[in-house]
């Protein structure tokens, strides 16, 4: 029955996804409506983008725990530029992306130059950013017309162009964040699977020393991975700010766990048993479908985290327990 096992490993998660979709659409015909499909996609787009970023760090055998707080900090900085400085769309976006690059470089510096283990370095960065995002506004959320510490009213507002990123729909149906997510998924897939840079990143993740001795510039690639992760997180932050239209101090809270979970669930997609872009996107989708379907069937909201955890644990057992790589 090894053949069955191989198939189970390879297609198990996709079969599960398909089964869920069939089940929910029978139980709730509205589930498969065009509108609901895009609601699901929109709900997972930001998480999927973060998952794609963390996939890059996982590929080099790193781990970025700071993605959630990078997204949150980027969101706050974009909002701050727009509301407090009245800086406009471009400045807000560039600031947020700059945050992503900078965080990635610092994470890279800590792990490569200072040799701090990845989990610890990025955990530290996570705390640092969670704290830092509160300082400019003394812990308050940022919204148009907020009063500043000097008593005056903030001059700026969220521009239409900025809000477009989070709220508009292409052809009146496809939400812009979904489009951005799909584009990033394709780019990340091509980069990791088809380019020599991606290949080298996987080589580093599998055996860093051997990759180095085969000529790979290990340090460079680790920086690249963390900068990718930081930038993707800040794109997530921009979309979040654009969707909710304010810089909300608490809205980035679940992003880290959801993003990491999606990337880890992705290990089990098509039996890859390694971080991969398509898997991370599908992992995010799987969680989104499950939560949306259960919500439509009136499952209480407070069970959501439990269900996500259940999917993650099952997927991990798929990957590691059934994989032929372990004797």
């Amino acid at each position: 029955m090894t053949n069955f096992r191989d198939h189970a490993i390879k297609y198990g998660l996709l079969v599960l996804l398909a089964t869920m979709i069939v089940f929910f659409s029978i139980a709730q015909p509205a589930f498969l409506s065009m509108i609901n499909v895009f609601i699901i996609l929109q709900s997972v787009s930001i998480v999927a983008i973060l998952a794609l970023g963390v996939t890059a760090t996982l590929a080099v055998n790193g781990f970025d725990l700071s993605i959630g707080s990078t997204a949150a900090f980027s969101m706050m900085m974009a909002s701050y530029v727009m509301i407090v400085f009245d800086g406009g769309t471009t400045a807000a976006i560039l600031t947020a992306l700059g945050v992503g690059v900078l965080v990635g470089l610092v994470n890279g510096f800590m792990t490569v130059q200072m040799r701090v283990p990845d989990l610890l370095a990025t955990l530290g960065m996570m705390f640092l950013l969670l704290g830092l995002q509160l300082i400019p506004t003394q812990g308050r959320s940022i919204a148009a017309g907020m009063s500043l510490s000097g008593g005056e009213t903030a001059p700026g507002k969220f521009t239409e162009a900025f809000l477009f990123l989070g709220r508009a729909r292409l052809f009146d149906i496809i939400p812009v964040p979904v489009v951005i997510m799909l584009v990033l998924a394709v780019i990340t897939y091509l980069f990791l699977e088809r380019t020599r840079h991606g290949r080298v990143m996987y080589a580093i993740g599998s055996n860093e020393r051997a990759a180095h001795l085969a000529g790979a510039r290990v340090k460079f690639y680790r920086y690249v991975a963390y900068v990718m992760s930081g930038v993707y997180a800040s794109i997530g932050g921009i979309l979040l700010a654009a969707r909710i239209g304010r810089g909300d101090v608490s809205s980035g809270n679940s992003l880290l766990m959801d993003g990491v979970a999606a990337a880890l669930i992705g290990f089990a997609v098509l039996g890859a048993a390694r971080p991969n872009a398509q898997g991370s996107a599908i992992g995010a989708l799987l969680v989104g479908v499950l939560l949306n379907g259960l919500t439509m069937m009136n499952t209480p909201y407070y069970t959501q985290d439990f269900i996500k955890g259940l999917v993650l644990v099952a997927a991990l057992m798929f990957t590691f327990g059934l994989s032929k790589k372990r004797g």
Partner: protein, 517 residues
């Protein structure tokens, strides 16, 4: 404990994996107080047999009995209880890196509860010292094992195995990572165990080990015992039956080489060592030999940009040259087959194909996108050239035998034109027939490059080299042409104590270069 004469009888052991029968019908008897050397090429079934004896695999048929009583050995635990202890080839399985030597030595006692919950450090060291003494292990006991050399780790693993006082001790290639001096210590320990009445199965590729230790030799080929030799031992006969064909001395013509390509000028390997000059020519294979940490490895590692020479300069094709990193060395056409391929060369998650192409992906890529068809085609060329036996190039490396893995690692560096090919212990864990094939290939392709191979094993060096250079304690002490080699001198140079007078030794007539004292 007096001298018991245990007798361990292995009879009719069979083992198949799927349709592939690995062991046909193995019967052997080993008695306490003797060393049975087990010889066999890779794939002959040695490791399977060892795994069955140590309880890792279960035999499909046959039995193992100790002193006439059948032992059921289904788990490693049961093997240990029957008094069968194995030191495996892969050292890292035998030691816990993060613990100290002392903790490793008495790990079994720690685990089985012979120690109270709170371990008294003094007591622990006292018992560990006893264990260490059994094989003359002379290292500070509170050192972490991770900080030790491979050789010392090996000795710790062996000492640990001996701490349980086995009836049958199985040593699987114990000297493969030891220098000759360290091997001597191991031999003493093995002989000591034998004299205490332990039965020993000693598995090795190395004739020198076998000559020194074996009381009997069993030759294994294709899952069968094909020869059993008693004293007086016929070593050539044993090798003959193991290989199934005659091993004539591999003799090749001396190549004097063509153009000077790599020139060392007053290079010092370590602070305080004597600077040397050396002129290496294309078309020649140069073997560097010497004990472990004699400096041979530093020569190739420094050329490849892994370290720096302590002082001096290297000229490459007439220009002063130094690689700051392996990356740069490769760009400049200096390639290196690494020792210990599992840690230093193989990407375990990659297929055979992707492992091969890794250093030269650029040549199959356009705007960084890999052209997979070209990659496949080029990889196929080189792995066929190095005679890798594979069924599916997209399978993982672990599907290949050690010898074939090494052929892939050599193939990797045949993808592009090479100016200098460095090899560090290229025959580590490689069976004899693969070793022959690799050696032949190196000789056939040597023409337009400089080839420098580090071979601690002199026999390997003799097999491939035109010129053998001896290092001893970071000093160049000998330089021999293969066709004028004087073995006693060579051995003396390798084994000499570091403060010996090298000028006396190196004045042999085979000298090609001057050694600057």
């Amino acid at each position: 404990m007096g001298i018991q004469s245990d007798s361990i009888e292995i009879s009719g052991i069979k083992k198949s994996f799927g349709t592939n029968t690995v062991l046909h019908d193995i019967s052997l008897t080993v008695s306490g107080g003797e060393v049975l050397a087990l010889m066999g090429a890779n794939g002959a079934g040695k490791s399977t047999l060892v795994k069955i004896l140590s309880g890792v695999y279960q035999a499909d048929g046959g039995s193992i009995s100790v002193n006439g009583q059948t032992s059921i050995i289904d788990t490693p635990q049961q093997a240990r209880e029957s008094g069968i202890v194995t030191v495996h080839q892969i050292i890292n399985d035998g030691v816990v890196q993060d613990l100290t030597i002392a903790e490793n030595l008495i790990l079994d006692q720690l685990c089985d509860g012979r120690f109270p919950a709170f371990v008294n450090k003094g007591k622990l060291h006292e018992r560990a010292a006893e264990v260490a003494k059994t094989i003359g292990l002379d290292l500070p006991l509170d050192t972490k094992v991770a900080e030790l050399s491979q050789a010392d780790k090996q000795l710790v693993a062996i000492a640990r195995a001996l701490s349980v006082k086995p009836r049958l001790l199985i040593l699987d290639e114990p000297t493969s990572s030891l220098s000759e001096r360290e091997a001597l210590r191991l031999f003493d320990a093995v002989e000591q165990m034998r004299d205490q009445g332990v039965a020993i199965i000693y598995i090795s590729h190395r004739m020198s080990d076998i000559r020194r230790l074996a009381d009997r030799i069993a030759a294994l080929r294709e899952g069968r015992i094909v020869g059993l030799f008693e004293k007086p031992l016929d070593y050539d006969g044993a090798v003959h039956s193991m290989l199934g064909h005659a091993v004539g001395e591999v003799m090749h013509d001396y190549q004097s080489g063509e153009a000077s390509r790599v020139v060392f000028r007053q290079v010092q390997l370590a602070e305080g060592s004597k600077p040397f000059d050396l002129d290496l020519k294309t078309g020649q294979i140069v073997a560097l030999t010497g004990l472990l940490s004699s400096g041979c490895a530093s020569v190739v590692e420094s050329l490849f940009g892994m370290h720096e020479f302590a002082s001096g300069t290297v000229m490459l094709d007439g220009a002063e040259w130094r690689a700051a990193s392996p990356n740069q060395a490769i760009k400049d056409g200096v390639y290196m087959v690494q020792e210990d391929r599992g840690n230093n060369a193989i990407i375990p998650d990659f297929s055979i194909e992707n492992n091969t192409s890794l250093p030269f992906l650029k040549s199959f890529s356009w705007l960084s996108f890999i052209n997979r068809d070209r990659e496949k085609a080029r990889v196929k060329e080189v792995i066929d050239l190095t005679k890798v036996k594979y069924t599916d190039p997209t399978a993982e490396m672990s599907t290949l035998s050690g010898g074939n893995q090494q052929k892939v690692m050599v193939a990797r560096w045949m993808l592009e034109e090479c100016r200098v090919l460095l090899l560090n212990e290229p025959f580590q864990g490689v069976d004899i027939s693969s070793r022959r094939q690799i050696g032949k290939l190196l000789r056939e392709t040597a023409k337009d490059r400089v080839t420098i191979a580090v071979c601690t094993d002199v026999e390997e060096a003799l097999e491939i080299a035109d010129r053998i250079i001896v290092f001893n304690h970071n000093n160049l002490v000998g330089d021999h042409r293969i066709d004028q080699i004087d073995m006693p001198t060579l051995i003396k140079q390798i084994a000499a104590a570091p403060d010996a007078d090298f000028t006396a030794l190196s004045s042999s007539k085979t000298q090609e270069t001057d050694i600057h004292a």
